[in-house]
């Protein structure tokens, strides 16, 4: 990011503002060549709008868009060095896989023979050489996805956009295709921006995550950083953490809602406190030992299976999620409305400045 400021004529430098009545997208995105940036956010956050604005399919109301130093704000989509992999691929149904991939080079002025040669090379690289003559409806989901990636890359874009590239695939195919896509993105020398609502896709595929909520960036950073230090409830939920905001005075954090959490970090001022649901221990009776200094009286609001664990939703003094084993849940005789004591060790919490 810092070297971007010194070499502004490389990579992506965008401030996307799209006004659409009640919805306003306002995000700043920068990326160096070779970066893979994931836009992560709930439905309706504006991820796809951002992607369409980058591709030129949605007009910018304000802001700017520079790619490798060239202003693209007013450039029509067909003149932008941008490739797009659409969510449902949008392979042209009347063209073979080969001609789908060759479509871009042909539009860029290559002869029919040249564009076919380029397309054949890309299909070969994607391991689809034997499917060159096949129409899209006869391709499997994974194959169609690879053809779509090949089609977008065949125009040699300086910016590759992927809209939910794995969403249309079933769980099994997804694993393979994700691994392949990761390889292709790693080889890609220009900027790649992908939009997803799946945190796993984002963390596997991208070097940097940009989390968007309601048209604004709420957090950005490396996947590891975001997983450890979530800053909104949405992200905390994505990465599976209990997250609270409060003001710290040494090892005590007083939450905005009243309760106090003891932490290991020594901080002052506004902070976030996070701890995983597995760090929570539940008791039917108030525990006598002072092993856990963080102790709250809560009511069970919901129970659901979560892998081989039971996820317990608690309300009361401190709303939180707790994970426990099926056996523990049975021993505690947990049911909706049951009153329990929830304890969290200070060493299991993690606090960081806002």
């Amino acid at each position: 990011m810092t070297d971007l400021i010194t070499t502004p004529d490389k990579g992506l430098d965008a401030h996307l503002v799209v006004d659409r009545g009640t919805f306003r997208l306002d995000v700043e995105l920068t990326a160096a060549p070779g970066d893979v940036v994931a836009l992560l956010g709930p439905n309706g956050a504006g991820k796809t709008t951002a992607l369409r604005a980058l591709a030129g399919l949605a007009r910018l109301t304000d802001g700017h868009l520079r790619l490798d130093g060239a202003e693209l704000d007013r450039t029509p989509p067909e003149s932008r060095p941008v490739g797009v992999v659409f969510q449902d691929y949008l392979l042209f149904p009347h063209l073979t896989a080969l001609d789908n991939v060759g479509f871009g080079p042909r539009c860029q002025g290559a002869t029919k023979a040249e564009s076919r040669a380029i397309a054949a090379e890309w299909l070969e690289r994607m391991g689809l050489a034997e499917h060159a003559g096949v129409k899209p409806r006869r391709l499997s989901g994974g194959q169609a996805q690879r053809v779509a990636v090949a089609r977008a890359l065949a125009t040699r874009p300086r910016l590759l956009l992927l809209d939910e590239p794995l969403a249309a695939l079933d769980a099994r195919t997804r694993l393979d295709v994700r691994a392949q896509l990761r390889r292709h993105l790693a080889e890609f020398e220009a900027v790649a921006v992908l939009v997803t609502h799946d945190p796993l896709d984002a963390m596997v595929l991208a070097d940097r995550l940009v989390v968007i909520e309601q048209g604004k960036i709420v957090q950005e950073g490396t996947p590891a950083d975001i997983a450890r230090h979530p800053r909104t409830d949405y992200i905390a939920q994505l990465v599976g953490l209990n997250l609270y905001k409060g003001s710290a005075d040494g090892h005590t954090v007083t939450l905005d809602t009243g309760p106090v959490i003891t932490t290991t970090e020594d901080l002052t001022g506004e902070v976030f406190v996070a701890f995983p649901p597995s760090a929570v221990t539940l008791f039917r009776d108030r525990p006598t030992g002072a092993s856990a200094r963080n102790l709250w009286h809560c009511e069970v609001a919901g129970l659901e299976t979560h892998g081989d664990q039971i996820r317990v939703d608690l309300t009361g003094e401190l709303p939180l999620a707790a994970d426990l084993t099926t056996v523990a849940a049975a021993e505690l005789d947990l049911h909706q409305g049951a009153l329990v004591w929830a304890a969290v060790k200070a060493t299991q919490t993690h606090s960081y400045p806002t």
């Binding site: 399919l57 659409f86 479509f103 860029q108 125009t155």
Partner: protein, 285 residues
């Protein structure tokens, strides 16, 4: 209790008990009040066509059909209907695209106006064409004085009259197909470097080809049968503006056998058109 009730009702249904109390049914369960009018309606539609076949002068048919007048009329009809269809395609497909893919003020009004010739009596269309393109018409006077072009009472006039009446069929058909086609394919083409026109030509056009074909056949059939606008705007000159329908009408007054022969030809053409469209409209699913 409830279970018992249900099984009783089922048993009664099996015996056919409750059925007999209602309207009488035929073997396939079609109520008579529906079946009878349906059959009358079917007969009403088919009887005239049967009469045409029954009264056809089969023996003199070959000589009737090879007479120069019939040939002239047939050739003129096929030529003008085909040219009119070509005009409809060149002007109508872009118009359909405009209506389906762009937003402009008054789009709904334009769409309504485009479909107007569908419901307008063709004779009125002919009169309107005369007023617009006639020698003293709003535009026609300039065509005449600037380019020396006169449309009324010429073969070109026939094509104009037929295109006027047939174009809405094509526009509506193509517009419907365009609306059903995913516009995002055009966007995908644009991101691959295709201009909007290239995207239309290389992606949209092939995708909507079936709709265009169906619309063309409809327009062609409508142009072939066109009578009112043609006779009003282009007149009835054998070899120049006398198309098959005009020839049929004229022949009916002095040579009914020729009229029947000509009608048979048009009937055959219509059946051929239906056969061509059967995949599109004759299948219910």
């Amino acid at each position: 209790m409830t279970k018992l009730d249900t099984s009783d009702a089922a048993a009664e249904t099996l015996k056919g008990g409750p059925r007999r109390r209602r309207v009488r049914m035929t073997g396939h369960g079609v109520p008579l009040p529906l079946l009878v009018p349906a059959l009358v309606g079917l007969a009403f539609l088919l009887l005239p066509l049967l009469a045409l076949l029954v009264r056809a002068p089969w023996r003199s048919l070959p000589s009737q059909l090879t007479s120069t007048e019939v040939w002239q009329a047939l050739q003129l009809s096929l030529l003008s209907a085909t040219l009119a269809t070509a005009v409809c395609l060149v002007l109508g497909v872009p118009l359909a695209w405009l209506l389906a893919r762009t937003e402009f003020p008054g789009r709904r009004l334009v769409r309504a106006l485009v479909t107007l010739p569908l419901v307008l009596p063709p004779v009125v269309g002919g009169v309107a064409l005369l007023l617009a393109l006639g020698r003293n018409g709003v535009v026609g006077q300039w065509l005449d004085s600037w380019f020396g072009i006169t449309l009324p009472f010429t073969t070109t006039g026939v094509v104009v009259a037929e295109a006027f009446v047939a174009m809405p069929f094509l526009v509506i058909s193509v517009e419907g197909t365009l609306r059903a086609a995913d516009p995002r394919y055009e966007e995908a083409a644009q991101t691959l470097g295709a201009s909007r026109f290239t995207a239309f030509r290389r992606v949209t056009l092939p995708l909507i080809a079936p709709g265009i074909a169906a619309g063309s056949v409809l327009a062609w059939a409508r142009a072939l049968g066109e009578f009112g606008a043609t006779i009003t705007f282009a007149g009835n000159f054998p070899g120049r503006t006398q198309t098959m329908p005009l020839a049929v009408y004229l022949a009916l007054q002095n040579d009914p056998e020729a009229a029947i022969a000509l009608s048979l030809v048009l009937l055959a053409v219509s059946i051929a058109v239906l056969a061509g469209l059967r995949d599109r409209w004759m299948t219910t699913s």
